[in-house]
Amino acid sequence: MARNSNSNRLRSGSSGRFFAALLGLFSGAANAAWELNLQEPATAVARRVYELHSLLLWVIVVIFVGVFAVVAYSLVYHRKSKGHKAATFHDNTTVELAWTIVPALILVAIAFPATSALVDMRDTSEPDLTVKVTGYQWKWGYEYLTGDAAGVKYMSVLSTPREQIENKAPKGEHYLLEVDRPLVVPVGKKVRILTTANDVIHNWSVPAFAVKTDAVPGFLRDTWFRADKEGTYRGQCSELCGKDHGFMPVVVEVVSAEKYAAWAGEQKQQMVAVAEDPNKVWTLDEQLALGEKVYTTNCAACHQATGEGLPPAFPALDGSAVAKGPRAAHVEMVLKGKAGTAMAAFGEQLSETDIAAVVAYERNAWSNKLGEVIQPAEVKALRGK
């Protein structure tokens, strides 16, 4: 992963950043950050794309040099200042036919490798395992549909601390390309990815795999990869999806078959262990602790940790009519979202326990000291409606 090893030069502080950047330019020779080509391919398909691009690069460089060698000759030798007299020719059928036919033949020649690479790229048949990827504003949801981990389901959220983004702390090695829970897949296996989205169009992309597929709400698309070697591969959402489009990376952990099986077993056990009892009666303190976590992961991007929101697009919750109004309406807002806005229907993403906790948190945080506990059973009753 050439891409990971070269970003270790940290830039910190607010003053002198400009000069640090300028210095970076001149110390660049020894710095591998000057990537000039596609990322190192990690799948057979990505290698074919890499080779196809290299071929095309040669073709266009040769064409460019050829054409502009002629121009350069004219510019040097056919200038008026050298006393060159203009010729008067303005047509030549042979030449014109030649430069129509020859480029057409070059294109036909290129079309063969381009076609076969594409056919390969689109062949999603006979996968070893299938993962459904759902794009949310602004995180990814992974759900294993087949294989050892079938049934495992979780969210993957940017883990770069806010302070680094706001330049209040030095940036880490994988700044903006790190998540709390990566997608974990086995090495050498054909992984089929089904994409969809919950709100707007996103795009799931990992350059080292030559994978880039839109996640369209209401539709399923598919793509695939078979990673050659173990490692961590990083990409980003590649379709503008709103304010935090730049902050929803894709991280894929490719591990050995044994590690993968162990990981899958662990995940399944954990799912059983934390399987929530929807009838459990919660205390306020328990709810606030869980609610704050849920809020930070799911709500704070828009409504902010301070509850002040970013009005008018993202309204404040602190003192808001919804957060201080009837609790049923508040729960329903979280469950079903608000059509035509970025407020998603979290009923599809979060458990009843989480929703109860986050609503309780919102009704007790900041100046909203309502002192209310909301039991998961209450959410369950409203979800049915």
């Binding site: 004219s74 200042s81 030549n92 030559a210």
Partner: protein, 536 residues
């Protein structure tokens, strides 16, 4: 005036200037193609500065990793408005301005066919521009969707989105009226003896462009109207929940959007096809094949739209078709480049500012065209889609293609418009600064895109930092260099060496037979078309 061959000219002039309003009323009520052409050009320059300022906000934010100056929401609004303003407010009106000024003078017509509609086409632009720029200040801000306005994101936006939709409607109306005017003028008002195949190439490019506009602008208007009803009236054209499909919008948008690329590029080709022969002192090579290439490009541009949509999940067969069709465009485009190169071959070249910009166009547009060939390959495009490689590619085509060509045209015809020669030294400075800073700004973006930096992000991972610094330096240098144009044009309007009626010894065409500055009314009687003035 004495230089014009027809009689009764002075009488006409007196008659017309008699009842004419002066001051601001002159500009509001004018039906004169030269006045309207000038207004289009000034308007486009103002919008160019506004759109340019937005791009500098973008580059300032991207200068280093981290969020520095603007919020991600505002960043998205800037990149959206930058594109909409540059495409619809700067580049398109600039070439309409050239069309207004030059087409009647090139074909020997007294004015545009529908002079009053011409006034209305122009005066629709300022309200649209105000709607677009004012949308920054409404609650929720401007549209933050990118100029492509894809739903469902565009459904989430505030009223700034509605303002953008209405602005697009108004701009579309203006373009359609302007296009009908241009088609009618070119087809009906050519001076006797100027057959279509003897017509200056700039007129040919505009004839095809006008047809592209008439065919594609209503489609964009339809797409944004469907967005509007999805937003406010409960329709579900683009919402799966109601039986619609978000990707449908993309098909409609790009069915407009691809011809739009050539709407911008073709008039640029036209200008260059006048400038290169003039400074090579040699007729344009392959006039007939140029005309066929323009027509072919115009036609094929309607059949390649989904090459902007390779990652949306269109079927393999669709991807293959659009790949082959896109590759086909390289053939007529190549023909044009070869023709320009051969026009210079064994010419007698000089390098005044218009020629420098035309050469800059030739080099940089070819780079943009060749990276376009790389992007045409679906498998490679999937790797590069929505990365900075695409940003670099279309800025090479749009800025170095369209804008450089517009500058070539500006310096070429400025003496005819103002009656003065511009300052050649400053012109050359303008060219070299633009050329150098443009490449500093945009060439590194190819590398960023190859390494995987997505476009439309306000912050980025650290391995992209170095090239973004270079790109930022280039962008600021390029931006400030453009202020030279204002200095040069104002100087030239105010004074300077007197321009002869034909200030460029290699230039041909009817526009060079009238005095400089061109009188307010030219060719009230159709001029004699001399074979020597044919082929631009």
């Amino acid at each position: 005036m004495q230089a014009t061959s027809h009689t009764g000219y002075a009488g006409h002039h007196d008659h017309d200037s008699h009842g004419h309003p002066t001051g601001w009323k002159r500009w509001v009520t004018t039906t004169n193609h030269k006045d309207i052409g000038s207004m289009y050009l000034w308007f486009s320059f103002v919008m160019f500065l506004v759109g340019g300022a937005m791009s500098l906000i973008i580059r300032a934010e991207l200068f280093t990793p981290g969020l520095q100056y603007v919020s991600p929401e505002f960043y998205n609004q800037m990149l959206t408005l930058h594109a909409l303003i540059m495409v619809f407010g700067a580049i398109m009106p600039a070439f309409v301005g050239f069309a207004n000024w030059m087409i009647p003078m090139m074909i020997g017509a007294s004015d545009m066919a529908f002079a009053r509609m011409n006034n209305w086409s122009f005066w629709l632009l300022p309200p649209a521009a105000i709607l677009l720029t004012a949308s920054i200040f409404v609650p929720g801000g401007a549209a933050g969707t990118g100029w492509t306005l894809y739903p469902p994101l565009s459904i989430q936006m505030g009223m700034g989105m509605d303002m953008a939709i209405f602005a697009v409607h108004i701009l579309g109306m203006s373009s359609i009226m302007g296009s009908i005017n241009i088609v009618t003028t070119i087809l009906n008002m050519r001076t006797p003896g100027m057959t279509l195949m003897k017509m200056p190439l700039f007129c040919w490019t505009w004839l095809v462009t006008a047809f592209l506009l008439i065919a594609s602008m209503p489609i964009l208007a339809g797409a944004v109207t469907m967005l509007l009803t999805d937003r406010h009236f409960g329709t579900s054209f683009f919402s799966a929940a109601g039986g619609g499909d978000p990707v449908l919008f993309q098909h409609i948008f790009w069915f407009f959007g691809h011809p739009e690329v050539y709407i911008i590029a073709l008039p640029a080709f036209g200008v260059v096809s006048h400038v290169i022969p003039a400074f090579s002192r040699k007729p344009l090579f392959g006039y007939v094949s140029m005309v066929y290439a323009i027509a072919a490009i115009g036609l094929i541009s309607f059949f390649v739209w989904a090459h902007h949509m390779y990652v949306t999940g269109i079927p393999l067969t669709g991807q293959l078709y659009f790949m082959y069709a896109t590759m086909l465009i390289a053939v007529p485009t190549g023909v044009k480049v070869f023709n320009w190169v051969t026009t210079m071959w064994r010419g007698s070249l000089t390098f005044e500012t218009p020629m420098l910009f035309a050469l800059g166009f030739l080099v940089l547009f070819t780079i943009g065209g060749l990276t376009g060939l790389v992007l045409a390959m679906t498998a490679v495009d999937i790797q590069l889609q929505d990365t900075y490689y695409v940003v670099a590619h279309f800025h090479y085509v749009m800025v170095a293609g369209a804008l450089f060509s517009a500058y070539a045209g500006l310096y070429f015809w400025l003496p005819k418009w103002t009656g003065h020669m511009y300052n050649e030294t400053l012109g050359k400075w303008h060219f070299w600064l633009s050329m150098i800073f443009f490449n500093i700004a945009f060439f590194p973006q190819h590398f960023l895109g190859l390494a995987g930096m997505p476009r439309r992000i306000p912050d980025y991972a650290q391995q992209f930092a170095d090239f973004n610094v270079i790109s930022g330096i280039g962008a600021f240098g390029f931006g400030f260099s453009q202020l030279l144009v204002l200095v040069i044009v104002v100087q030239t309007v105010r004074g300077g060496a007197r321009a002869a009626s034909r200030p460029w010894d290699g230039a041909h065409g009817l526009e060079w037979t009238v005095p400089s500055p061109a009188p307010y009314h030219t060719f009230e009687d159709p001029p004699h078309f001399d074979q020597a003035e044919a082929h631009g």
